[in-house]
Symmetry: D2
Subunit: 312 residues, 4 copies
């Protein structure tokens, strides 16, 4: 039986891996190995690839296939593997899911098609068709800033009636919305409710959510894992102490420049500076050069001193 | 010394009072008395009038003055009184603040001018000028869905350097944003950090915020007060139990029809059905008639059964 | 009989006058006289006050009343006078309309209430109530960037069934939308269809629209009047020649800084430099200081050379 | 020499072809033949495939390749062929361009990557890189409602410095914006300036633009061609007469249901009813069923009577 279904709901910290690149068309495989070992050593609860942080939309299908294959090989089934198959074409999403299944992935994740903004009715129809044709369980992924559409809470509930749909990742940052979906899914204790933004992981876990698919965990996996455990234990003092560090990361590493992609540039730049992997970003994003790089270096120095105990 | 400054930061549940109306131009004074007594009996920590829930923008200046005078008279300084003075004209905002001061209010609250969307630089300039000319301490009020502009965290910090600026109310519903402002204001423990949406009050209190200016407290003040105390005490089990009721209110009373103002219509309709005050809404909003009213009646019946222990 | 109803539809160039200010609370009356004489000498077809260009929302009600009285006095019924009464409160809108009627204005203009965004149904209800209570004919004013709501074409038609509703000003800049409203109102040849943005006045007149309420006409009234006449005459060569100058104004005077209000700052700065009136802007906008002022000065020098024949 | 470069700027009516589909993965080749013959008989000036109307994002890469090959075969170089290569991955865009070049296409067209919204700086970098690597001349395609980003006029000018960049298609519907780009490109008479929305083709041609990439031309090519010629000739009476029919199409065929894709559903449904091609839409859009289909049928009957002289 599928590990995720057997242990539902999925919980904890699942880093959305960056895709280490040497250039627009080449995977930095050594960097990917470093990254995965770092994450596993940090105690994370799963691996999530080819999401927004993974620049999936910016790289070719061949490279997405490579990323699935290499991650699967390096991971070797040590952790549950989730593969994001978001695409504008249902056919290409299914192609990616079949590749993921062939490589032994545990689940797929899908944000709504992001060119034509579908209605709620069309969303429900699309995901019903998709879930029917997938070889793996499915997480829904709400990412309205990028897809221009948000799953209504009732639409999540309706789609989740399909047995293949096992969880939800919300990257809206909207706390009222997350609570509304949590309420809509209250009758489904096996359904995993995760958030994207690490700045709100602690609070949603305190309120009954299941964890975070947090980009910062690429950098400091142990920090987010400890934050998660503190929240699960209801240790508010520790939660607030760790949250301060999380916010220090958020307000220094992710805000350099005024790009829509400052977060992504910051994470990859920091990974490069930490020696984990190449800092190349695929077009239309471009990596930080000096002097932005220097600002990341300084922030990182300050951070590493602060969070040493949590870094692996 | 001003009560709010002496006891800073302001904490707890501060209901944003509806403005009970007999028609577009007439205050329902008896309804206002019922409402205020209900709130005080429910244990709330202050009164907030003429905000978004108070339909301030829809009523005339004469009526706003009446609302300030009558609330002040009925309250009789039993609770701190905050008066919202949001306006598109700085002159009219100051006029309202002077009326509030003359009536013994404790603080004023201001959302950015909502016709021309100012830049961050202009926001900082506007609030510096305003704070200089106000007779009372000032809360900033972030309400981007209505004002088209959001205070950047750095702008809040910059404006808050003025000694008259003592707190912040965020109605963005964005948890990452709220954490960012909390981080920007970390050096100011006397600065009050409140949220508007009741659906997220518990979680921001768990994370170190100070409370909620929650519209549902017009209806069931005791429920929100209990939720606040449970969060302050770190009693997660009780928080989650009460949060379920809060979400039941949110997902039934506030979602009838598909209006931008479904929340406002729902609150006033429910207050009318509870016998607290008239359910008239000022143009351009219009009160629920049947069959929407029947849906509110049903939701309310179900709710009153559920939350009896919390209703006063 | 009302001049506008007798000569419907209103046509031509109707400048939306800036409100000349000495400071936030004081009208620059001498500047207003200069401005009105300049506009009349330039051949414009009416005067429009207290619109978006007139900063109505930023100034007090006393000052709005002063602006109505002084404009009416200076104009002395030489040109049709339209007074914008946009407000968030229907009561205050009617108060302003009554002042306008008392001063001999010919019509009022109203954009939707801009704090709570009404539904189309609520818009129709609001304008039915308003039109019933107005002492003067009404123009609808579509300004979605500022009011957050757009009149659906069918809503315009529905509201225009009221005999007091005589025209429409569209500031959306959306050519498809304008054509859709034109189509919806095709059966009403007496109904005036105007646009706000001067960059599109020529093309909508070529297509059958009636004219422009164009901010640049504060500066160079003769230019826009000539452009209008060329378009009415179907003189495409002259239209394109003059349009180049209109675009030169738009792309130099209105784009200094990256403010939402760069247009407004540019117009007032240029009027100050031309010696017409004071360049003060009411909060939350602030006038250009050097070096922005220098950029306006240079653009203006270049422009005056180019458009000398059209300047009065 | 490339036909488009030799005859620059490209002018006239270039229909954005629908992609006739039997199901999500199968081209309706017979329908495509009907469609292309209909368009050529209608006198259009070129063919544009795999744009927004062509549902390119919703179909697989294999199917996009098929559509390029079949269109090229059927067209047989009778008309200039433009192939849209919009993608989120620069690599896949180049792959599509190479296929297009191999099939004898005349130019490619590209809207910005539509998952991550690039900054203006990143847009310029992206298009410089892309233009360098393309085997064919490039049109830029502005489609902010779908891509979340708009080319600033200065960015168009900057990108157009590359010799491979020969034109611009604007689907923003914003007349001020189009005039601003026209002004920015005034020094480049060989640069083609086209609009997407057919409702504004006539007016931009009257003002000096070059034509329209108009979806309605799939249905009634002769109508749009006649409208274009009337505008070029400056025959305002004929322009307004034909524009009424264009608006009748727009306000009846494209407004059934309240979908973001009502236009697309309407065009394909009407093509099906006219016997041109299958009406299937690829997920996440779904074709009209009864009773919407009946509304299209009625509108079409009314239209065919009205526009008989223009239909081929």
């Amino acid at each position: 039986m599928n590990r995720l279904i057997a242990n539902a709901p999925l919980k904890g910290i699942i880093p959305p891996l960056v895709t280490p690149l040497s250039d627009n068309d080449t995977l930095d495989t050594a960097g990917l190995e470093n990254l995965i070992e770092r994450l596993i050593a940090g105690g994370v609860h799963g691996l999530f690839i080819l999401g927004t942080t993974g620049e999936a939309q910016s790289i070719s299908y061949n490279l997405r296939r490579r990323m699935i294959e290499e991650t699967s090989r390096i991971n070797g089934r040590r952790l549950p593997l989730l593969v994001c198959i978001s695409d504008t074409s249902i056919t290409e999403s299914i192609n990616l899911a079949n590749i993921a299944a062939g490589c032994g992935a545990d689940a797929v994740v899908s944000a709504p098609p992001y060119y034509y903004a579908p209605s709620q009715e069309e969303l429900a129809g699309f995901y019903h068709d998709l879930a029917d044709r997938l070889p793996l369980p499915l997480f829904l992924y709400n990412m309205p800033s990028h897809t221009k559409v948000s799953f209504a809470p009732g639409t999540v509930r309706r789609i989740a009636e399909h047995k293949n749909v096992i969880g939800f990742k919300d990257s809206s940052a909207n706390a009222v919305y997350f609570q509304s979906v949590l309420t809509a899914m209250a009758g489904r204790p096996d359904f995993s409710m995760m958030v994207g933004p690490e700045e709100m992981t602690a609070e949603i876990v305190l309120m009954g959510g299941h964890g975070g698919i947090n980009g910062g965990a690429n950098l400091f996996p142990g920090l987010y894992v400890n934050l998660y455990h503190a929240a699960v234990a209801g240790n508010l003092e520790e939660v607030r102490r760790l949250q301060k560090i999380v916010m220090l990361i958020s307000t220094t590493l992710y805000t350099v420049g005024k790009y829509g992609s400052s977060y992504l540039k910051g994470v990859k730049c920091a990974l490069g500076l930490l020696g984990v992997c190449n800092d190349h970003l695929a077009a239309p994003c471009y990596k930080f050069e000096e002097p932005e790089k220097e600002r990341i270096r300084e922030a990182l120095n300050h951070l590493q001193f602060t969070i040493r105990p949590f870094t692996i």
